[in-house]
Amino acid sequence: MMHGARKIAVVGAGPSGLYATAELLRRDGGVNVALFDRLPVIGGLARFGVSPDHAQRRRMIAVYDRLAVASGRFDFHGHVDIGGALTHDMLRRHHDAVIYAAGASSDRQLGIAGETLPGSHAATEFVGWYNAHPDHAHRQYRFDHERAVVVGNGNVALDIARMLLLDPRTLRKTDIADHALQALAGSRIREVVVLGRRGPAQAAFTAPELLELCEQDEFDVIVEGVEAPPAAMNGDALRLQLLDELRRRPARHEKRLRLRFQASPTEILGDGAVNAVRIVDNELVLRDGVVVAQATTRSEIIEAGLVLRSIGYRGVPMPGLPFDAAAGVIPNRDGRVIGDDAAPLAGVYVTGWLKRGPRGVIGTNKQCANQTVRAVLDDLHGGALPACAADPDDFAMLLQRHAPERVDHAGWRRIDDHERQLGAAAGRPRIKLAGMNALLAAAAAPAVRAA
């Protein structure tokens, strides 16, 4: 740590927090950055959201982590709950500025009958479960039935469908959680229905995800209702072209993914547990220039033992900070958090999904973080933020008192090494430690026990 430097705290060690950290350190040689996360690991959704069979995308964690460390002006404080044991006021008092990059950890709900039945779950939880998120590792799902329904057709919905349909031997080559690998190895699911309320042209998944479905040879993909692709090539046209290609393929596998368009769930049915979903067909109408789904009177019942809603993430309030409950974001202007009187809260900033809502891919957060960092540095050097006079030793004591189980960067490195070594011993890329106790033990002790 550089003496006399300005101190910036970043809360949330996912892609947004990593991008903000790297940009702060790159743009200004006179700042120190302290990165906080309530979990003892770096990565956020790059670790716990990105699908195990897309682990290539996780590499951004190590790249930006390394960049931060190389600056010599970076600290990681893992397993510190900001807004919990350590309040926003404590953090703000001891830093020149605080950037919140806490993401959107909750999910949107369907608001239909039966949604809370056992067997009906949020995609966020299911994804956390197969990615060994400590909050979700303990969950249990039933796979003793033949069909699952995923509501929503974004990339997360397709991730889930692949996890439910890929051969366990394929999954074993990924860093999927051990408990999920074991549970899915006994799965009887043969069909996953992915429901989209609008048509193929409005679908939320991206073209590369469809191309991946074209390239795999483990399950059929059945596309219901695709118009011919337009001649001009753009992202949308590519999607439609790939859907058309999938539609023309002959069925040849025992398992299948059904992409069902223009259908919405109206009720989840079951006696004590989910056994079916009632859906209604939609027609598409143009309203104010936007294609919207409008329910028809045609409905259908699809038998299913598992229903996963994947219709979007949702931000949660940070204690002590304003929150726009309708949008699920912290109100801000260009990343400057604004209070009820629309005036900026001095020294408090936000970036990523908590700033603009849960939209875009990993890299979208880089431009978002760059904008917030510009605001921070403009305020820091434009005289809007007086230098923080708090004694660093006082903050160290505060951390000691309120986060005695804090995991520092060396601890995170030990977890990372440990997981890679466990993976190497089992012929897998990595075996993630699933429970908080296991993570904290690995952070404290470097030794890997021989298998």
Binding site: Q56, R59, P208, N234, I362, G363
Partner: protein, 87 residues
Amino acid sequence: MAYVIVGSCVNDAACVDVCPVNCIHPTPAEPGFATADMLFIDPQICIDCNACAEACPIDAIYRDHDLPDAMRRYKAINAELAAARRS
């Protein structure tokens, strides 16, 4: 020959920053960046310098000759997206 961006692209745009001939699109300054499924390299402009491949934080850029089998189609996809942009 040219370099090719594949589907694991996360739109980080580190490649855009280092490309000496500005052949990677959409750039963060261009319309469509926020909603782009992926970035692409214009093979008619690419000079094979390898800077983008080195800069990519997730190794999603390949020399066209080195594309893994499951990603071969991205050569045509990059070329078609580039042609559509030029037209």
